[in-house]
């Protein structure tokens, strides 16, 4: 981790937004064979293997000696069956693949809503990541977060963002698809709320607009939506396993808008019903026009 003083660090943080875009540009320049990959019918880790292979492998995104930050949803003190957190098997496989591609360090963190040590543990993610060779890092101290500006934001102009997002070479966003009482659904853009400290502002300043605004800050190098177990109601926390349906889906894209639109359809809603999809599209974050995209559809199993 960076050893510069705070002044330098926040300065660096300000310029990181542009740096992030530079990395994103680089990955575009590689010309991925597909804009969106959708896999269904397999186990979470195996679906990832198939999907990433069809994009040309993890090496398209991770180079040797780079630092990687993987940001799953670890929001709740809940077991994997509850579908409140990202599937631990998926997170572990992503970490493994990154390590195999020669990544120097693979960090995994979230800023959980529930008590964080229990969320890390009971989600199964902490154990799985450690076994896979990744490094679990806390997101539960304001000291880890540094002030940044969101130049393209309409309502959200400032945020405090976790230093791993600001300093790591590669940012992999791994949300779980689930219902959400406030934002209708929680998918890739909503998952980015877990890399900021001051979330209360979002809730009191037009939540959907803030979610869309923050999507302009740093484009994740890759988004992987876990829709293996999908919480269909009472989200984002859920009350019991009765809220969850095993759908065995997974989506991959570098486009936040496209992947949220596609996941909305998997959930059974129209992307127009997810307000921040439209707002982010207006801000130029991505496109929801899946019909016009190169989509790879993979069906696994029987």
């Amino acid at each position: 981790m960076n050893s510069v003083g705070f002044g330098v660090l926040s300065g660096a943080a300000l310029s990181m937004g542009n740096l992030g875009e530079a990395f994103a540009m680089e990955s575009h320049a590689m010309q991925l064979p597909y804009d969106l990959v959708a896999i269904k019918g397999g186990e979470a880790a195996e679906m990832f293997d198939k999907g990433i292979a069809s994009l040309g492998g993890i090496k398209q995104f991770v180079k040797a000696n780079q630092t990687v930050v993987v940001k799953p949803n670890i929001g709740w003190d809940a077991t994997p069956e509850r579908g409140a957190n990202t599937n631990p098997a998926l997170v572990a496989r992503i970490v493994e693949q990154c390590k195999m591609a020669g990544a120097k360090t693979v960090y995994v963190f979230d800023n959980p809503v529930a008590e964080w040590t229990r969320s890390y543990k009971n989600s199964g993610i902490e154990d799985a990541v450690k076994k896979a060779g990744g490094t679990m890092v806390s997101g539960k101290s304001e000291g880890y977060y540094h002030a940044v500006t969101v130049p393209k934001g309409k309502r959200l102009k400032n945020a405090k963002v976790h230093e791993l997002i600001l300093e790591s070479d590669v940012f992999i966003n791994v949300p779980v698809l689930k219902s959400h009482g406030g934002s209708t659904l929680s998918i890739a853009m909503k998952n980015m709320m877990g890399i900021v400290w001051d979330r209360e502002f979002w809730h009191s300043n037009d939540l959907h607009q803030c979610i869309a605004d923050f999507a302009t800050f740093r484009k994740p190098d890759l988004n992987i939506v876990d829709a293996y177990r999908v919480m269909k109601r009472n989200g984002p926390r859920g009350v019991s396993v009765a809220d969850v349906v095993t759908m065995k889906y997974q989506l991959m894209s570098t486009d936040l808008v496209a992947i949220d639109a596609a996941a909305t359809k998997v959930f059974g809603l129209d992307p127009k019903q997810l307000k921040h999809v439209g707002l982010a599209e207006q801000l130029g974050v991505g496109s929801s026009n899946i019909e016009a995209m190169r989509v790879n559809r993979i069906t696994m199993g029987a």
């Binding site: 101290s141 009482g181 009191s204 019991s240 809220d243």
Partner: protein, 521 residues
């Protein structure tokens, strides 16, 4: 075993207890297993008495062991087991090492203070609650020193070290925020630690022999204990070394008398006597020579009755929590809360405030830090007793930690299943203050956090959803109140139940699942 070795035995035992009990109170990372708390604290006098009143069982009978020990050996409790006693020994040792005090001198007992203080403490229990006991009880005073005063510094040190290690890519330690720290709740612990350190620095065990109600009570028993410190006039040279070494200043070298009501059985006198003429000896249950005047006894009964009556006049009042004010107008409208929220397992506010000694073991152990020392939330007499502070955090649905560690029975053990149905309070929603109503934008922060969906988002105008509350499945965990962005007086909050109730289980309906044969895009 030679009697000279008694002191070594005392030092080893007392340091072991000091370290173990300190560990319980500074454990900010949940390193110490919860089962330790009951084993280590079994012999703590006041918690054990209160626990026994609630659950008269062997597991709560530690104080009986202490009473028997006292009848046999005098106030060994004060030197072997009491963490505040040992803490004072450490200070007194430092005092001697740095020559603040070179030698102790015999002094008369301050009976006009110690007996009234014991009397007031006991009488106040029947009229004014536990405040005086909590203020003076050595175990609880010790707990608060370590939980409220020392723990924050250790957290700060941890954070500094964690930051350094992170630079080397080592994440074994992690930083911990202490947003929970407020000056109001550390005033009393800070005053008490100053008093205890001051007294022990200059006067040895004066706190134990004058202020401490447990010390005074055990002192009444130790007058008739089986083993007592005795001096042998035939071998004693009156060199005075024993008296100089006596932290309790209870050895009168002129009369060769020991005021055993003040002796804390530290055995320093035995180990320093060059003639081995001071010894621990059997007394065949005859009255020891004691130096109490009759007038002070009458004094104590009279005064304590008076103070007891005065305390009875102080009633419980509820005070709203003050937090940092932000710019949202609706947040400035205060909410009417009838009761504070007491922790899960505390049965009722009455049960809790009648048994909690405010040792703050639960405060240290609470993983979310929602349990915070109160100021006036329970009224004056409940000061320092922990309450659920939803301005700081909220109660983790799956957690029963406070009920596992509480040594007094104020918070009784709960299974996780029972905890999930224990209603500490009920949710109140004021629609007119809600963001969705005032701003016409989406929020749902409260419902998002709600474990039972007692707060549910229902359709509202403009495709928005707005909270709706169902009281009977609410457990009062405060997640909604904590998460509400309308600050400081939130638009949704928990009003405590004076008596905890059983919440209904959230009804679970089966989901209708549509099979998707093909990709939906």
């Amino acid at each position: 075993m030679k009697q000279k070795h008694l002191r070594i035995l005392r030092i080893i035992t007392s340091i072991a207890f000091l370290l173990l009990i300190s560990a319980l109170f500074i454990d900010f990372r949940e390193m110490v297993p919860t089962t330790w708390a009951h084993n280590v604290l079994f012999l703590q006098f006041v918690p054990s008495v209160l626990n026994f009143i609630t659950l008269p069982a062997l597991a709560a009978a530690g104080f009986i062991v202490v009473l028997i020990l006292t009848l046999l050996f005098g106030r060994a409790y004060c030197s072997f087991l009491c963490p505040l006693g040992v803490f004072q020994d450490v200070v007194a040792w430092f005092s001697k090492a740095t020559k603040v005090v070179k030698r102790y001198k015999f002094k008369k007992a301050l009976n006009y203070l110690r007996y009234p203080l014991l009397g007031i403490t006991i009488v106040s229990l029947f009229f004014g609650g536990l405040f005086i006991l909590n203020l003076l009880d050595p175990y609880s005073v010790f707990g608060r020193i370590f939980s409220d005063l020392i723990r924050p510094w250790l957290v700060a040190a941890n954070n500094g070290l964690a930051s350094l290690l992170e630079k080397a890519d080592v994440y074994f330690l992690y930083r911990i925020d202490f947003s929970f720290f407020t000056w109001r709740t550390v005033l009393i612990p800070a005053f008490m630690v100053a008093l205890v350190i001051g007294l022990s620095l200059l006067y040895g065990r004066l706190y134990c022999n004058t202020v401490c109600p447990v010390g005074t009570l055990l002192g009444l028993l130790s007058r008739i204990s089986f083993f007592r410190i005795k001096m042998d006039p035939s071998t004693c040279t009156k060199c005075g070394k024993c008296s100089f070494a006596c932290k309790s200043t209870c050895i009168n070298i002129k009369t060769l008398g020991v005021d055993f009501s003040r002796c804390v059985a530290c055995y320093n006198c035995i180990s320093v006597c060059p003639e081995s003429s001071i010894r621990y000896e059997r007394s065949i249950w005859k009255k020891a020579k004691i130096e109490v005047t009759d007038s002070s006894k009458r004094d104590f009964i009279g005064k304590s009755f008076f103070y007891g009556l005065a305390l009875a006049g102080i009633s419980r009042k509820v005070m709203a929590v003050e937090v940092e004010v932000k710019d949202r107008p609706a947040g400035h409208i205060p909410n009417k809360k009838n009761n504070p929220v007491s922790p899960p397992g505390s049965i009722s506010i009455r049960h809790f405030t009648d048994r909690c000694t405010a040792c703050h073991l639960c405060v240290t152990n609470c993983p979310t830090k929602v349990l915070q020392p109160s100021f006036l939330e329970y009224g004056f007499t409940g000061m320092m007793q922990p309450h659920m502070n939803y301005a700081v955090e909220y109660c983790n649905f799956e957690c029963t930690k406070c009920s596992e560690v509480c040594p007094t029975g104020a918070i009784l053990p709960l299974t996780v299943e029972d905890k999930k149905l224990t209603q500490m309070g009920k949710v109140q929603f004021i629609k007119e203050k809600c963001i969705v109503y005032t701003d016409n934008t989406a929020c749902g922060s409260c419902s998002e956090h709600c474990p039972t969906q007692a707060v549910k988002m229902v359709p509202y105008k403009n495709n928005l959803t707005i909270p709706e509350t169902v009281n009977d499945i609410c457990i009062g965990c405060g997640a909604c109140e904590f998460a509400c962005p309308v600050k400081p007086h939130t638009s949704i909050f928990v009003d405590g139940n004076a008596v905890h109730e059983v919440a209904k289980k959230p009804s679970i309906e089966a989901l209708e699942v549509e099979e998707q044969e093909e990709f939906p895009f």
